[in-house]
């Protein structure tokens, strides 16, 4: 025996606009993600950030339009008269007609999510996908489906579906330009999931916010006791208030990002420590820096440990060049090993000093220090150097006896922490 409710829902799921909604949502999300694949493929967080934004800004208006069109079906197909003569409640009718759009939209999102995760999985070193974000996105897509449907039922204008899509796009995108914490009420609000994770109650509260509005709209339209719409509305307002009050604290630092992975240290080979997510790139980093390390071997005071800049190098440690996953690292590959070595050398010798009062001598001295620094970076990175150095300075460094150069470099490396140019050894 088949329940007629399932029969009706199955027919709605299989016929009309609903089955097209899923592929349309999946295609919209995947086409949007395709163009930025190198940026997100190396990180669960970035993958979900991109998907979250695309779902909020593009899929939601699409679903709103599809649901609105479905809602207007009874007007276009002239079935409203027949539906008025049957005992089945308006709420049941509306729910059965709107649910397939929402379910197909959710299926389309999940398909895109599956493809994006499958594309991301081979290139991630740490962290995991956020179920909260998935639940929030799904909740929002479902909610938009029901709201769009009610709009379609109420507004008998053939162009209402595309107009609703445009309005939804503007309404969802606009809060992103606000500084107010109210921007977090928009489910399309961009979130930095590559370094942060939502708090545990993020999903239930956001779902209560969007779902509460949707249920309230549906009940106000279709329920026999319309005053019941107040209950989900109050729930939505309470959730929305909590979201605005919490603001950016809805997200906290991702503990997985704090974990460090280090290479093996050996005689003459400093240890390299990077964020766990960059662990797969560690061998490439070591290789890129091998030349520099060999040149620093035996230099007094040369760092024995290099750490990523987010960790904040301590005494005896040096900072590695900052490379962002998706840009400096794509699909677990360093996009520019030469630049990485050069930037790491720069980080090693960089002076973060305030400029002193102007003066002819001071300017001349500063220029000497700059030329010396460029020459050191060029020498450290050898043939990989991407910097232009003064040939006289560089030639002098190259022609120094090996032992003298090591002593000189030791003196030079001791000075970046001090901001007195006169202390920088003359080359």
């Amino acid at each position: 025996m088949t329940n007629p409710a399932y029969t009706a829902l199955r027919a709605e799921l299989r016929r009309g606009l609903a089955p097209w909604t899923g592929p349309a949502v999946a295609l919209t999300l995947l086409v949007t993600l395709w163009g930025k694949a190198p940026q997100w493929q190396g990180s669960w967080g970035e993958t979900q950030s991109q998907l979250h934004s695309a779902a909020g800004l593009l899929a939601c208006p699409l679903v709103a339009a599809a649901a609105c069109w479905q809602g207007g079906r009874e007007h276009r197909r002239r079935t409203a008269e027949l539906l008025l003569s049957v005992p089945r409640s308006r709420l049941a009718q509306a729910t059965t007609a709107a649910t397939p759009i929402a379910l197909w939209a959710a299926a389309g999102y999940l398909l895109a999510l599956g493809v994006a995760f499958a594309a991301t999985a081979p290139y991630t070193g740490a962290g995991s996908p956020s179920v909260s974000i998935v639940a929030t996105d799904l909740g929002f897509l479902l909610s938009v489906g029901f709201v769009g449907f009610v709009v379609g039922r109420l507004v008998r204008w053939r162009l209402i579906a595309p107009v609703l899509a445009v309005c939804a796009y503007v309404l969802l995108g606009f809060p992103g330009y606000l500084n107010s914490e109210a921007r977090f009420l928009s489910p399309a609000q961009a979130v930095a999931l590559e370094v942060s994770v939502p708090v545990w109650w993020f999903a239930p509260v956001l779902v209560a916010w969007t779902g509460g509005i949707a249920v309230s709209v549906l009940l106000a339209y279709a329920a026999r006791r319309r005053y019941l719409a107040v209950v989900p509305l109050v729930l939505a307002i309470a959730a929305g208030t909590l979201v605005v009050h919490t603001g950016a604290d809805l997200f906290r630092d991702d503990p997985a990002m704090a974990r460090r992975v280090c290479s093996e240290a050996g005689p003459g080979t400093p240890q390299i420590c990077v964020n766990a997510s960059d662990a797969p790139v560690l061998p490439q980093m070591s290789q890129a820096l091998a030349g520099m390390f060999s040149r620093l071997e035996g230099v007094p005071g040369a760092p024995t440990r290099y750490v990523d800049t987010q960790s904040g190098p301590k005494d005896g440690e040096a900072g590695l060049a900052y490379v962002m996953r998706g840009w400096g690292i794509t699909r677990n590959r360093l996009t520019d090993p030469r630049g990485y070595a050069s930037d790491t050398a720069l980080t090693l010798v960089n002076r973060d000093c305030q400029a002193g009062p102007p003066g002819k001598d001071r300017k001349k001295e500063a220029e000497r220090v700059a030329r010396t620094t460029d020459a050191v970076i060029s020498w450290l990175t050898g043939e990989d150097s991407k910097r232009y150095a003064d040939s006289r300075y560089l030639a002098h460094l190259k022609t120094m006896p090996d032992a003298d150069r090591k002593v000189w470099l030791g003196r030079f490396l001791a000075t970046p922490q001090r901001c007195t140019p006169a202390e920088v050894p003359v080359l």
């Binding site: 025996m1 007629p4 009706a8 008269e81 027949l82 008025l84 003569s85 049957v86 089945r88 009718q93």
Partner: protein, 266 residues
């Protein structure tokens, strides 16, 4: 009149329906008992308004409407209205459908809307579709059917719940002569156990299928009687349709003119 109040499925007292300020039905009193009843009248007479009120689609502006002994309209409760609707079958004048659905899916969908017993639905759908002669197209999409077939789908959805009151508004529009003959046989069969009210322009449908006739003119009852009585008003049957039509068409015209003359004398 063949119907009596005691046996009535439908009892209408002082029924008034207004569209803006115009009275489409003006203090109409009617009773319908099981059988097939024809509702005749010129365009704009109020036939569709009456059918829509009986189908609980439109609320009356005034008066009282009882279906199966329960009052329907603005004063009626949700439960009693739902109970009445479960026993209704309705084919609107403009029959809307979902073109992507198959015949089976659409009729089953309406069965769900009518809150039919789950166990009975599959068999009821097949029976209803078979009764309208679409058994061989039951799994065809409605959009692939001809206009006449779509109309038959409309009849199938109306009878799927084996209604006690079947309201058909222009049911034979779009049917070819053979289909109309089959349709008349079907409603005669349905009328043996149910109250069937057929609103139509086609008096020959009434002559062939209905036991009673109600003639509406300008929102008032112009004539009520049996089909034989209306036919008799048209004079003797000469065996061929003359320039004034066949006997029932002449009876229809005579009844209408008599009513107009009576109204003019008031």
């Amino acid at each position: 009149m063949s119907s009596t109040t005691a046996m009535s499925t439908v009892t209408v007292r002082k029924l008034t329906v207004r569209h803006r300020r115009t009275a489409v039905l003006d203090a109409v009193d009617l009773d319908f008992a099981p059988g097939v009843h024809g509702l005749l009248g010129p365009n704009g007479a109020g036939k569709t308004s009456l059918i829509r009120v009986l189908a609980t689609v439109a609320a009356p502006s005034g008066g009282q409407v009882e279906l199966f002994g329960s009052e329907v309209g603005a004063k009626s409760g949700h439960r009693s209205r739902a109970a009445v609707r479960r026993r209704l079958g309705y084919l609107p004048q403009e029959f809307g459908y979902y073109p992507g659905f198959t015949v089976r899916e659409f009729v089953a969908y309406v069965a769900w809307l009518k809150e039919m017993d789950a166990a009975a639905v599959p068999a009821a759908v097949e029976l209803a579709v078979a009764r309208v002669g679409l058994a061989d197209r039951i799994d065809a999409r409605v959009k692939t059917l001809s206009g006449g077939m779509v109309r038959r789908v409309g009849i199938a959805q109306a009878i799927v719940n084996d209604p006690d009151l079947l309201l058909l508004d222009e049911p034979t529009a779009g049917l070819d002569p053979e289909q109309r003959v089959e349709f008349r046989a079907l409603i005669r069969e349905l009328g043996s156990t149910s109250t069937v009210i057929v609103s139509t322009h086609l008096v020959e449908d009434v002559a062939a299928a209905c036991t009673d006739v109600t003639l509406i003119e300008a929102g008032r009852i112009a004539y009520r009687g049996t089909t034989q009585e209306l036919t008799a008003l048209g004079g003797e049957d000469t065996g061929a349709d003359g320039p004034d039509g066949n006997p029932i068409e002449r009876g229809y015209t005579a009844a209408l003119r008599a009513h107009r003359a009576a109204v003019a004398r008031r």
